[in-house]
């Protein structure tokens, strides 16, 4: 580089390994791929322009911005003009749900979401209710899937929007989104999908599945944090929720974060090229963990759908053990996992998804989630299985509940 500094970026996998950490919480956060960081750097320094400026420096930025938009669009089978960059996926969902509802209020005031939605969508729906909209929640089955029949039963003349995640970030269940899209086809009801958990793990093609709106996140395909996008199908009208200088066709004001957008595009290119092989590799690691946990740990169960599930997700529950205690114990063993237990949440409520699946509170408290990703290795499963059976055993020995659920013969 011109200032003489040589940039060395450590491989995230090596960094974790040298720190002795097995990271199995890719659902919560992912490292930015060092190749993405390299692509971003020039746009922080020499190519720093504002795409709105009329001079040459601004033109360089405009070109880079529009080129990046095309590359992100391509990963999802979209047209460049259908991509609106936002400050993260939560913002994209706000724009999609609040923006669509406000813009289309004259058509009706009823919105349907599923009971499995991410907390961000649940809270956006609550806000809509405060604004006078009616919100209905479509139930999910034992494995966390929405039933198209039950969703259809909730459609009224006033329904304008259905919001259904592509897949659950928690239990990993993939929703029958194509079926729901088909169901809504021709009704005039828009379909929004929060695709964040599914990105890079299952194919998402807006050419194949006629969704109207799609919330996307850059970090979930190993791009930088704090950047997302909303796919808005051509002809679908949304009102902006963030007002200002009118960037992004007036739908998302604020000067574009060019370096991050270029990073998102670089991440999209890498994902397009590497996804099939990466998914199979990650699936093999996940399958091994599921197989071993269920075989080696008594009274353990897999939550979510046995087949329709994200290839990187393993979500368990263990009888008579509490989730936060498991996560804390695993932390001591250098293993990063997460839980849907009440004691780990800000509200002390257990995971709404698990409760909607029909689990009892005490079962939801005993959940433990592992999610794998680009730098996961087969050895990670060995490390987890060196620690996990002992952790469960130790906590069960402390628990007054375990003996009552364990058969002792007579």
């Amino acid at each position: 580089m011109s200032d003489g500094i040589t940039l060395t970026l450590q491989d995230p996998g090596e960094a974790l390994r040298s720190a002795g950490v097995v990271y199995a919480d890719y659902q919560s956060a992912k490292p930015v791929d060092p190749r993405v960081v390299r692509a971003m750097l020039p746009y922080l320094t020499e190519k720093f322009g504002n795409a709105a400026s009329l001079h040459g420096v601004g033109d360089v930025a405009t070109e880079a911005l529009e080129e990046a938009r095309g590359r992100v669009a391509a990963l999802f089978g979209a047209e460049p003009r259908e991509i609106v960059f936002t400050g993260g996926a939560t913002e994209a969902s706000n724009l999609a749900i609040v923006g669509y509802a406000l813009r289309n209020r004259r058509k009706g005031d009823h919105v349907i979401i599923s009971e499995a939605e991410h907390i961000s969508v649940l809270n956006i729906a609550k806000y809509l209710e405060k604004q006078g909209f009616k919100v209905t929640r479509a139930p999910i089955d034992l494995h966390g899937r929405v039933s198209p029949k039950k969703l259809r039963a909730r459609i009224t003349d006033e329904t304008i929007l259905v919001s259904l995640q592509w897949a659950s970030s928690e239990i990993g269940t993939v929703q029958p989104i194509a079926e729901i899209a088909e169901l809504l086809d021709g009704t005039g009801i828009a379909l929004h999908s929060d695709a964040v958990a599914a990105e890079g793990l299952v194919p998402i093609d807006t050419g194949e599945v006629p969704v109207s709106l799609l919330s996307l996140s850059s970090n979930d395909i190993y791009g930088p944090r704090g950047l997302g996008a909303l796919y808005v199908r051509q002809g679908v009208q949304v009102a902006p929720v963030l007002l200002g200088g009118g960037q992004e066709r007036g739908l998302r004001s604020g000067s574009e974060d060019l370096a991050s957008i270029v990073g998102f595009a670089a991440a999209a290119d890498l994902m397009a090229a590497e996804m099939p092989a990466e998914v199979e590799r990650v699936r093999a690691i996940r399958d091994k963990l599921v197989e071993r946990v269920l075989a080696e740990i008594p009274d353990s169960h897999l939550n979510g759908h046995p087949e329709h599930r994200l290839p990187n997700n393993a979500h368990f529950r263990f009888d008579a053990v509490e989730g936060e205690a498991m996560v804390l114990s695993l932390r001591d063993e250098g293993i990063a996992a997460s839980t849907g237990s009440a004691c780990s949440s800000k509200t002390l409520e257990p995971s709404h998804t698990l409760i909607s699946c029909g689990l009892l509170h005490e079962e939801a408290h005993g959940s433990l989630e592992f999610t794998f990703g680009r730098w996961s290795r087969a050895e990670d499963v060995d490390r987890i299985m060196e620690a996990l059976p002992d952790v469960i055993h130790r906590l069960r020995a402390l628990s007054p509940l375990y003996k009552t659920s364990t058969p002792t013969g007579s």
């Binding site: 509490e322 009440a342 409760i355 009892l360 007054p400």
Partner: protein, 270 residues
């Protein structure tokens, strides 16, 4: 502050809990507080010497890191104390001894102090360990157990043929494959049906308003070996759902709270 931002002292007690276990024999009393529904449950056992001193103390806890640490800490604090002095050990004392707890976890120290106080109360009132465990003491998270009364289930008839079953014939069992089935405890026959159902679906709940299902000892041990999930102290109040059964509104008799349980089928045998 993160709910898991514990002090080193708290983590140390979680990793190496003191006085884990149970006590048996003469001069033993136990205090049980909490409820698995709430996510934490504690048993504290005390052995009291003739001069009213806590001679030995043990605990068992189902719960998060702070639930384990507060149980462990309180057993250390009161070991060897006179009962009257032990009663003065407050919730705040436990949290202080652990050098603080995250605000959201303060209720855990309530549980530990309550369990100890409950054990002392049971000792003084001559309540034996087995009886004590059947009636958990009241705490902030778990108020007074509600009275069990005959309650009519609302909307029962409306879901006839739409998720409500008054009888399930053997050849009808496969129809319930992969459904979430809740069977109301009406004795041995209902428990037997619940067990038969586990061959067809992974999700069978036997709901009883009692502390345990009202079944014969033989059926009880069979039930324990089965995949049937027993939901105790639960009174169904109302069936809910668009067109067909989707949820059951339930009165949790232990916490005196209402919640909704997701279900596709509800079996109330005639």
């Amino acid at each position: 502050m993160k709910s898991t931002q514990y002090t080193e002292k708290t983590l140390e007690h979680f990793r190496n809990p003191r006085n884990v276990g149970t006590l048996e024999g003469e001069n033993v009393a136990v205090g049980r507080v909490g409820n698995p529904v709430c996510g934490d449950m504690m048993d504290i056992y005390i052995r009291v010497s003739p001069d009213d001193t806590i001679e030995d103390i043990k605990f068992q806890t189902f719960g998060c890191g702070s639930a384990v640490a507060t149980s462990s800490m309180i057993t250390e604090l009161v070991q060897g104390m006179k009962l009257d002095d032990a009663l003065k050990v407050s919730r705040g004392d436990v949290a202080d001894a652990l050098e603080g707890l995250p605000p959201i976890k303060m209720h855990c120290s309530n549980l530990a102090a309550d369990a100890l106080h409950e054990a002392i109360k049971n000792w003084r009132e001559g309540v034996g360990p087995e009886d004590a465990k059947k009636t958990p003491g009241g705490t902030a998270c778990h108020p007074i157990p509600a009275e069990v009364a005959a309650v009519e289930i609302q909307n029962l008839d409306a879901y006839e043929g739409k998720g409500l079953y008054r009888r399930v014939a053997v050849d009808e069992l496969p129809k319930l494959a992969d459904e979430r089935v809740v069977v109301l405890d009406t004795g041995d026959r209902s428990a037997q049906l619940a067990m038969d159902l586990t061959d067809h679906t992974g999700r069978v709940v036997l709901m009883t308003s009692g502390k345990e299902p009202s079944v014969s000892p033989a059926v009880r041990s069979a039930l324990r070996l089965s995949d049937v999930k027993v939901l105790a102290e639960a009174q169904p109040l109302e069936l809910l759902g668009e067109g067909e059964l989707e949820r059951i509104r339930v009165h949790d008799l232990n916490e005196d709270e209402e919640y909704e349980l997701t279900a596709d089928a509800f079996v109330v045998l005639e």
